[in-house]
C-alpha cells in the first residue's frame, strides 16, 4: 500500500511544507559513502512500506535477522507507519526473537497508536488515540461529502474505506488492477489517477480533491489531517508527527537518548503530485537527527535529508553497517582465529594439497541436488565416535537433514510409546551471510546445474571443506564474496567440533555473518529456554547434553565484537566493512558432553572448551591431523591397479575410523553409525560380526570398548533370558543405551499391511554373535585383562543361554526350534543351520574358556565359577549338547552328486528348507528391488530364496570348522539361491568367494557391497551409511582377498587377489605386534614385515612356516610349476 502524501488543514502548515527548500533530484549516494552515517546510532526511526519492506507481502525475514543483533545490542528500532499494528506484527514482529522485541516500538495507524513488547515478547499497547463519537461522525461526514461532490462532478466510481482507526479513506481508483499497487509504481499510479480524474471532468486532480476535503472540513469547522497516498485521500485525526512527538516524550527523554543518536529513515520526503511526502512528517521536531531517504524521490528531497535511494535493500544495508560499527568496537580476544595466511588452515582448505593428491583420498560433491542432499550429507559426514556431523551446508537447503549426533544420547518418548532413538544435538554449524544487507544464497537449489558449492571430504585428514563461489552454471553473475569452510570433529578431544569459515570480499562491501545453534528437531530441549543453550535434556530426562560454544570473527587481523542474543540459539552477529581482497575468518568451537546430570555435563563441556581455548587453534588442528595420520598408518589398505576399489575401501575405512570411540565403553556403533538417524541409532549383531573384526585388527582399543558395551549390558541380557524362561545371557536383537531390547513391535509394511516384527524375540543368534566377537578379539589381541574381566563372562553366560535354549527330543538330538536366522525371509523356523552352528560353537568356546582359565588363571576361574554358580555338571552338559545338536545335511538328491560317495555335505538352512519351492534367481538378475517385494512376503517364505548369507555366514565365520570342499559345495548351492536383500550379504559372499578362489564373483560382490553407499541413487544412504556393509568390505579384503586367518597361535595367510589388482597392501595388529602385509601379482608373491612388537610372529603361508622377528621382512612366492609356495623372491 502507498504511504500518504500528507497535507494539513491549516493552510500555513501546507504552505510551509511546500515552500521548504527542495534539493533538485541528484544521484543518490550509497550508504557506504555517507560520512553522516559512519557511526552507530542508538535509535532508528523508520517508515515501513517502501522503506523497510517493498510491500506487505514481502518476506521480511532478512530484515528481521539484521534487526535482531542490533536490538540485542540495545539499539531501539521504531516503526512509524500508517498501517495497523497487526500487519507489522505478522510481517516483522513475529520473526523477531521474543527476548529482542522489547526494543521494538511500532507507532501504527498514522500516529494514533503505539505498541511495544513486554519481557516475554508479548505485544503491549502503549498509547491509543480514541476518536470521540463526534469526531468519528465528523470524519465520516467530511469523507462522504467529498465523495458525493466528486461523484456528482465526474460520475466516477469513488469509494470510502471506513474501517480505519481515526481515519476515512477516499479511494480515487477502486479498480482491481490498482487494488494494491506497490511503491515502485507510484509514478504509474499517479498518472492513472490523474488521467482518470481529468478524463472524467476533474482537471484539478488529486490536489483538487485534497483542497475539496480541506474546504469541507473548514466548512464543518473540524480540525483534521488530510493526506494522500495518491490512490486515496485520507482524512484523519493524527499523523506521523504525532508519533514522533510521543517517541521523543515517552522514550528518548526517559532513556536519555539525544537527537544526534537517532537516525530517521523513510522513502518519501520530497514532493509527489504537489504534496510533501508522507515521511516528511517524521522530521517534525527533529533538528539534529540525521534523516535519510531510501525512496525514488523523483522530485528530490528537502534540505537536510540525505538521499540514499535503493529502497528496502539500502535500508538493510544501513542496518548491516550499524552492526559493523558496533562490531568494530574493541573486544576481548582469545586469539583463536587463525589469520588467512595460516599455512595449516590454508593446507586444510586447499583444493589440492600434497597430502590429498593421491587417488582415493577425497570424495567430492559438486553443487546441491535437493533429491540427493540426504545422501551427500551421510556420505560426507565427519565423526569421531562420540560425535557425528552430517555434511549439510551451514545455511542448509530446506529439504536438508542437518544433524549432529552424539553417541549414546538416546531419548524415548514420554510413556515409551516409541522405541528410544538417537536424538540430534543442537546444530552448532549454522551460519548465514549478508552482503550489503542482502542474504547470501549458498544454496541456489532449484537452479539447474548449480555447481556454486563444492563439498569435499578429505578422508586422510578427516575434514570436510567446502567452497562457495556464488556462480552457478545458469548464471554469469558472480558473487561479491567467496566462501571457504572447514569442518572437523576432533579425533583427540572427542567432544570438540571445529568450524572455520573464510569470507573473501571480491569488491567493497558491508558483510555480516550470523552464527547460531539451531534447535534440535525432536527429542532434546534446552533445560532453560531463557538462557544461552548450555544444557539440554532428552524428553524422558534420561540424558543431559552439555554444550558450550566459542565463536569469534577476525578481519584485518583484529577480532570483531559480536552482537549477541540471549536464548537457546545463542545467536551471534558480526559485520564489517570489507575491502576488495580482504579475507575475514570466522571460527567456532563447540564442546559437547553427555551425562546424566546437568551440572556434570555442563562442567565437562566447559572443561573441554577451556582446554581447547588454552591449547589454541594450531594445536587443535595439528593433533587432529596427527591422529588421523596415525589411524591410517595403522589401518590403510592400498590397492594398485583398481582406483575404484581403492576409493571404495578407503571410504569404508574412513567411516569405520570415524565411528569408534575407544574411551567410551557405554556406547556402541549403531547400524548407521553417527552419519544419520536411520535405524534409530540401534545396535545390532552388525557391530559384533561385521565391525569388531576390523577394530580387532586395526584399532583394538576401539574393539575393546565395543565389547565392553556388551559387558555393561550383560545384566540386561540376563534379565531378558529370565523373562523368556531361559538362563544365561540373551542379548537384545536391538539395543540402545541400557541393553534392553528396543526392537519395534510392529511395522507398516510396504503394502500398507501391519506386520508383527518377530526378530526381537526369535533372532536369537545374536547371543552367539556377541560371544564370537569376544573370541575374535581375544584371538587377535590376547588382551588378557579384558578377557578375564569381561570377555570370559560373556562367553560363559551366552553358552549357558544356549544350554537352556536347546531341547532334547525323542530323536536323541538337541533342537532349537522357533527362531529366525540371518535369512529373515524365513521366520519361526526350526534348527536353523547358522543358529545351531553358532550355538555349538558357543559351547565349544565356553568349554575352551573354562579349560584355559582353569589352567592359566585358576584363581580367577574359581572366583568366576563362584560368581556364576557354574558347576562341572553344567559344563559336562554343554559338552553333551554341543555334540548332539541337530544339523541337517542334504540327501544325495539335493547335491547333484552322491552324498554317500563322499561328496561334502550341504547343510540344510533349516528343517524343511530343501522341500521349499525353488526359484531361479537368474531370471531376476537385473532386479533392483528385493525378492520378497517381487514375490510378496508370504510367497518368499515358501521359497528357497535366501535373504542373505545364512549357511554361508556360518562357513565364513568358522573357517577352521569346515573344509574348503564343504565351503565350496555349500557356496555353489546357496549362492544362486541368495537374493541379497540385505546390505550385509554381498561382502560376505565376496569374502567366501575369494577364499574358494572364485575371484570374478568375489570382485563382483566386492563392488556390489561398496556400491551400497557409494552410488548416485537417492535414498540408499539417506539415513546414514551402512556400517556393517563397510565393515564387511574390510573383511572381504583382509580376510578374503588377503586371506588372513588367525589360527591356533599362528597367523595363516591364504592370498587370493583379483587379477586386476597389481598389488594389495595392508597393515594390521596381532597380539601386540604390527605387520605390514603386501601381496603382488604375476607371479603371486607375499611380503610380510614385522614392524612393531617383541616376540616373533609365527606365520603360515600354504606349505611354508616361518617365525618373523621384529624388524624383519619375509617374502615368498607361488610357484605354479610345483603348485607350492617358495621362500624368497622368484
Amino acid at each position: 500500500m502507498m504511504m500518504p502524501i500528507e497535507t494539513h488543514l491549516l493552510r500555513g502548515t501546507l504552505d510551509a511544507a511546500l515552500s521548504s527548500p527542495m534539493r533538485a533530484p541528484t544521484a543518490p549516494i550509497s550508504v557506504r559513502e555517507s560520512p553522516t552515517l559512519a557511526r552507530a546510532f542508538q535509535m532508528l526511526i523508520f517508515d515501513w512500506d517502501g522503506t523497510a519492506v517493498t510491500n506487505r507481502r514481502e518476506d521480511a525475514s532478512a530484515l528481521a535477522r539484521l534487526a535482531e543483533p542490533l536490538l540485542a545490542d540495545g539499539c531501539w528500532l521504531v516503526v512509524v507507519t500508517g498501517t495497523s499494528f497487526s500487519h507489522i506484527a505478522r510481517q516483522f514482529g513475529d520473526l523477531i526473537a521474543p527476548d529482542c522485541r522489547q526494543s521494538v516500538l511500532v507507532c501504527a495507524n498514522r500516529g494514533s497508536e503505539v505498541f511495544g513488547f513486554d519481557a516475554r515478547g508479548e505485544a503491549v499497547l502503549r498509547y491509543h488515540r480514541e476518536a470521540s463519537a463526534e469526531e468519528d461522525r465528523a470524519l465520516t461526514a467530511i469523507a462522504e461529502s467529498v465523495r458525493d461532490e466528486l461523484v456528482r462532478a465526474t460520475h466516477l466510481d469513488v469509494q470510502i474505506v471506513y474501517n480505519r482507526l481515526n481515519r476515512r479513506k477516499i479511494d480515487l481508483i477502486p479498480l482491481p488492477e490498482w487494488a494494491d499497487p506497490p511503491k515502485s509504481q507510484i509514478d504509474a499510479l499517479l498518472e492513472a489517477v490523474e488521467t482518470r480524474l481529468a478524463a472524467a471532468g476533474w482537471p484539478s486532480g488529486i490536489a483538487g480533491v485534497v483542497e475539496l476535503a480541506r474546504q469541507v472540513a473548514a466548512r464543518l469547522g473540524i480540525e483534521v489531517r488530510i493526506t494522500s497516498d495518491v490512490k486515496h485521500v485520507e482524512i484523519g485525526l493524527t499523523d506521523k508527527a504525532d508519533a514522533v512527538a510521543w517517541i521523543k516524550r515517552e522514550l528518548m527523554t526517559p532513556l536519555g537518548i539525544a537527537e544526534h543518536e537517532v537516525l530517521v529513515a523513510g522513502d518519501e520526503f520530497g514532493t509527489v503530485g504537489g504534496f510533501p511526502g508522507s515521511d516528511d512528517r517524521l522530521r517534525v521536531g527533529f533538528d539534529a537527527a540525521p534523516v535519510v531517504s531510501v525512496g525514488v524521490e523523483p522530485n528530490g528531497v528537502p534540505a537536510g535529508v540525505l538521499h540514499l535511494g535503493g529502497g528496502p535493500h539500502a535500508f538493510r544495508e544501513l542496518l548491516t553497517r550499524q552492526i559493523a560499527f558496533r562490531s568494530a568496537q574493541a573486544t576481548d580476544t582469545r586469539g583463536l582465529v587463525p589469520p588467512p595466511t595460516n599455512p595449516q588452515v590454508a593446507s586444510l582448505l586447499a583444493r589440492r594439497s600434497s597430502l590429498s593428491e593421491r587417488v582415493g583420498w577425497t570424495l567430492t560433491m559438486h553443487g546441491v541436488r535437493p533429491e540427493l542432499e540426504h545422501v551427500v550429507e551421510s556420505l560426507l559426514a565427519v565423526g569421531n565416535g562420540f560425535m557425528g556431523v552430517r555434511a549439510s551446508l551451514e545455511d542448509p537447503h530446506p529439504v536438508s537433514h542437518p544433524r549432529t549426533l552424539i553417541a549414546g544420547l538416546y531419548g524415548a518418548t514420554p510413556g515409551g510409546s516409541e522405541p528410544p532413538s538417537l536424538v540430534p544435538a543442537p546444530d552448532w554449524l549454522r551460519a548465514r551471510l549478508f552482503v550489503d544487507g542482502e542474504p547470501v544464497a549458498w544454496v541456489q537449489a532449484e537452479a539447474e546445474n548449480n555447481n556454486s558449492v563444492t563439498r569435499t571430504l578429505d578422508l586422510r585428514r578427516g575434514v570436510l571443506r567446502s567452497e562457495w563461489t556464488g556462480i552457478s552454471n545458469s548464471s554469469t553473475l558472480s558473487s561479491p564474496i567467496a566462501i571457504r569452510t572447514l569442518r572437523l570433529v576432533s579425533q583427540v578431544r572427542r567432544g570438540l567440533g571445529i568450524q572455520i569459515i573464510q569470507i573473501e570480499a571480491r569488491a567493497a562491501a558491508t558483510i555480516a555473518l550470523q552464527g547460531w545453534l539451531a534447535l534440535p528437531p525432536r527429542g532434546l530441549a534446552p533445560r532453560d529456554l531463557a538462557t544461552t543453550g548450555t544444557t539440554w535434556q532428552t524428553a524422558d530426562g534420561a540424558h543431559v547434553l552439555g554444550c558450550r560454544v566459542y565463536a569469534a570473527l577476525a578481519a584485518d587481523g583484529r577480532e570483531l565484537r559480536p552482537m549477541r542474543q540471549h536464548g537457546a540459539e545463542d545467536k551471534h552477529t558480526w559485520a564489517w566493512e570489507a575491502a576488495p581482497g580482504q579475507v575475514a575468518t570466522f571460527v567456532r568451537i563447540v564442546a559437547f558432553a553427555r551425562g546424566g546430570q546437568a551440572e556434570q555435563a555442563d562442567g565437562d563441556a566447559v572443561a573441554q572448551l577451556d582446554g581447547a581455548l588454552a591449547a589454541g587453534m594450531h594445536t587443535l588442528l595439528a593433533e587432529h591431523v596427527r591422529a588421523w595420520q596415525k589411524h591410517w598408518a595403522a589401518g590403510d589398505i592400498r590397492i594398485r591397479g583398481d582406483d575404484e576399489a581403492q576409493q571404495q575401501v578407503r571410504f569404508a575405512i574412513y567411516h569405520l575410523l570415524s565411528a569408534a570411540h575407544p574411551e567410551d565403553e557405554r556406547v556402541s556403533i549403531g547400524a548407521r553409525g553417527l552419519t544419520g538417524e536411520g535405524y534409530l541409532g540401534h545396535v545390532f549383531w552388525d557391530t559384533d560380526i561385521f565391525l569388531v573384526p576390523f577394530y580387532s585388527a586395526v584399532w583394538p582399543a576401539a574393539a575393546r570398548a565395543l565389547l565392553m558395551y556388551r559387558y555393561h549390558t550383560l545384566s540386561a541380557a540376563r534379565e531378558r533370558a529370565v523373562q523368556l524362561g531361559y538362563r544365561g545371557a540373551f542379548y537384545a536383537w536391538e539395543s540402545a543405551d541400557t541393553g534392553a531390547d528396543v526392537t519395534p513391535a510392529e511395522v507398516i509394511g510396504p503394502g500398507g499391511e501391519r506386520v508383527v516384527v518377530r526378530s526381537g524375540t526369535l533372532e536369537q543368534h545374536i547371543s552367539a554373535d556377541v560371544a564370537y566377537a569376544v573370541w575374535q578379539y581375544w584371538h587377535f589381541t590376547h588382551d588378557t585383562r579384558f578377557f578375564l574381566a569381561a570377555g570370559a563372562e560373556i562367553v560363559l553366560e551366552t553358552a549357558r543361554f544356549w544350554a537352556s535354549r536347546c531341547t532334547l527330543e525323542d530323536d536323541g538330538l538337541y533342537h532349537i526350534r522357533r527362531v529366525i536366522g540371518p535369512d529373515e525371509y524365513h521366520e519361526d523356523i526350526d534348527d536353523n543351520a547358522y543358529t545351531n552352528g553358532m550355538a555349538r560353537w558357543n559351547f565349544a568356546c565356553g568349554l575352551a574358556t573354562a579349560r584355559m582359565l582353569s589352567a592359566r588363571w585358576p584363581q580367577h576361574w574359581r572366583a568366576l565359577v563362584r560368581r556364576l554358580a557354574l558347576s562341572d555338571e553344567e559344563l559336562a552338559h554343554w559338552r553333551t549338547v554341543s555334540t548332539r545338536i541337530a544339523a541337517t545335511t542334504a540327501p544325495a538328491s539335493q547335491q547333484g552328486n552322491a552324498h554317500a560317495s563322499g561328496a561334502p555335505p550341504i547343510f540344510e538352512q533349516f528343517k524343511g528348507y530343501f522341500d521349499l519351492e525353488p526359484i531361479d534367481l537368474a531370471a531376476y538378475a537385473n532386479r533392483t528391488v528385493p525378492m520378497d517385494v517381487i514375490l510378496g512376503r508370504e510367497h518368499a517364505q515358501r521359497t528357497q530364496v535366501v535373504k542373505q548369507a545364512d549357511v554361508l555366514m556360518l562357513l565364513a565365520l568358522l573357517p577352521d570348522w569346515f573344509s574348503r570342499q564343504t565351503v565350496e559345495a555349500n557356496y555353489r548351492y546357496y549362492e544362486p539361491r541368495t537374493g541379497h536383500g540385505s546390505s550385509l550379504s554381498p561382502a560376505i559372499h565376496a569374502l567366501l568367494a575369494a577364499r574358494i578362489g572364485e575371484l570374478a564373483a568375489a570382485e563382483r560382490y566386492f563392488h556390489q557391497a561398496a556400491e551400497i553407499d557409494l552410488n548416485e541413487d537417492a535414498g540408499a544412504a539417506a539415513q546414514g551409511v551402512h556400517m556393517a556393509a563397510l565393515g564387511g568390505l574390510w573383511s572381504a579384503v583382509a580376510l578374503g582377498f588377503a586371506g588372513i586367518l588367525p589360527r591356533r597361535g599362528a597367523l595363516r595367510f591364504q592370498p587370493s587377489v583379483p587379477a586386476g589388482w597389481r598389488s594389495l597392501a595392508l597393515t594390521f595388529r596381532w597380539r601386540g605386534r604390527r605387520l605390514r602385509y603386501r601381496i603382488q601379482q604375476a607371479p603371486l608373491r607375499v611380503t610380510l614385515q614385522h614392524t612393531v612388537g617383541a616376540a616373533p610372529i609365527p606365520i603360515v603361508v600354504g606349505n611354508l612356516r616361518h617365525r618373523l622377528p621384529v624388524g624383519a621382512a619375509w617374502t615368498c612366492w607361488w610357484d605354479d610349476a610345483t603348485s607350492s609356495w617358495k621362500e624368497g623372491a622368484p
Binding site: T195, R369, G751, V933, G1019, Q1023
Partner: protein, 315 residues
C-alpha cells in the same frame, strides 16, 4: 457511472489470473468435459476459459447456447472461439492463456474404434508439459464426483526427472485438498530387463536389512524426495506410500479398484511415439478414472557429479 473511457496506464505488476481451460469441438463427447471443468474452476477458484475449435463459423454466444450455458455460466466463463487445426489451436490457447490446467476428453468429434485416445488429445498431450486432466466422455459424469473425493493415485518410477515434473500436479492436488497414494511398482517383467540408471533415482530400496526400520524411513524419504524434486518443502499434500508387485497396468487398475482412487496421475516421459507410453495408453483404454497428466523434458541431463577422488598428482 461514467461511460467516458480513458486510456489508463497499465498496472505493470498485475498479471492476468490463471485459468482452467477446457477444449471443445462441438461434439457431444467433448462437451462432457465442460461440467468437469466448471467444477474444477469453482474448486480452484479460477476463471474458466472455454475454447471452442470450430469447423464452421460460430459466435461466442452461439457456443454458449450450444453448450446450454445459462447466463450465470456464460458470465463466469470466457468463451474463445477459434478455427483451425484443433490440437494446434488448443496448444496455442494453452500458451497464450495463463493456463493452470487443461481439461480434455480422450476424444471428441473423431472416434477411433480401436483406441480411446483420439489423435487430437494425443497430439496435445505429447506437445505440452503443462497439466492436463484427461477424461473419458462416458465417464465424465463420475469425474466431477472424483474431484470432490480427491484421492490421487500417483504411480512413480522413482526417477528424479519424473518427480520434478510433479510440482504443478502437487499444487493442483493441494488446492483441491486432495491426497496422494504414491505407488511404487515392482514389475517382474521389467525388472528382468537391464535397468537404465539415472542419477538421483529413488526406487524401491534394494536392501531392506530390517523392515521395521527400513520401510518407515524409506516412506518418509519418498515424501521428502517428492518435496525436494518439486521444490515444495514440505510437500504440503498428505501422502501414503505403497509398494506393489506385478505388471504395471494391472497393478494400477487393481489398486484403483481396491483403494477407490479417484484420479490417476501420470508423468509423460516421451512424445508418445509408437511403442512408447504403453502404460499411459493401456490405462486410458482400461480405466474409467480421469487421468491427470503432466510431462517432463524427454532428455535428462546428467547434472550431478559425485566425484570419487579424481585428484591425481599434478603434472
Amino acid at each position: 457511472m461514467n461511460n467516458r473511457t480513458a486510456q489508463l496506464p497499465v498496472a505493470r505488476h498485475v498479471q492476468p489470473p490463471e485459468v482452467v481451460l477446457v477444449a471443445l469441438d462441438g461434439s457431444a463427447a467433448a462437451a462432457t468435459a465442460l461440467p468437469v471443468a466448471q467444477r474444477l474452476a469453482h474448486l480452484l477458484k479460477m476463471p474458466l476459459h472455454v475454447l471452442h475449435v470450430a469447423t464452421s463459423p460460430i459466435t461466442a454466444s452461439s457456443v454458449a447456447e450450444l453448450l446450454h450455458l445459462d447466463a450465470a455460466g456464460a458470465s463466469t466463463a470466457e468463451i474463445d472461439v477459434r478455427a483451425g487445426d484443433p490440437s494446434e489451436e488448443i496448444l496455442r490457447a494453452v500458451k497464450e492463456q495463463r493456463t493452470y490446467l487443461t481439461v480434455l476428453t480422450t476424444h471428441g468429434r473423431e472416434i477411433e474404434a480401436d483406441r480411446h485416445l483420439g489423435h487430437v488429445a494425443e497430439q496435445v498431450i505429447a506437445s505440452t508439459m503443462r497439466p492436463i486432466l484427461l477424461i473419458r466422455p462416458e465417464a465424465a459424469a463420475a469425474a466431477s464426483t472424483a474431484l470432490e473425493a480427491k484421492r490421487f493415485l500417483l504411480p512413480l518410477d522413482g526417477k528424479a526427472a519424473t518427480a520434478r515434473a510433479l510440482g504443478s500436479i502437487t499444487d493442483i492436488v493441494c488446492r483441491l485438498g486432495g491426497s496422494f497414494d504414491v505407488l511404487f511398482i515392482a514389475d517382474p517383467v521389467k525388472l528382468a530387463l537391464p535397468q537404465m540408471k539415472e542419477p538421483g533415482t529413488l526406487g524401491i530400496p534394494r536392501y531392506v536389512d530390517q523392515p521395521q526400520h527400513e520401510w518407515p524411513a524409506w516412506m518418509r524419504e519418498v515424501l521428502d524426495y517428492l518435496g525436494a524434486c518439486s521444490a515444495r518443502h514440505p510437500l504440503g499434500v498428505p501422502a501414503r506410500v505403497h509398494v506393489v508387485s506385478g505388471p504395471i497396468t494391472s497393478v494400477v487398475l487393481q489398486f484403483v479398484a481396491e483403494h477407490l482412487e479417484d484420479v490417476i496421475v501420470l508423468v509423460r516421459r516421451s512424445h508418445l511415439e509408437p511403442g512408447r507410453a504403453e502404460v499411459l495408453r493401456a490405462l486410458l483404454d482400461e480405466t474409467p478414472c480421469p487421468v491427470l497428466l503432466t510431462g517432463t523434458p524427454v532428455s535428462v541431463r546428467r547434472s550431478l557429479r559425485l566425484r570419487q577422488s579424481t585428484e591425481h598428482p599434478s603434472a
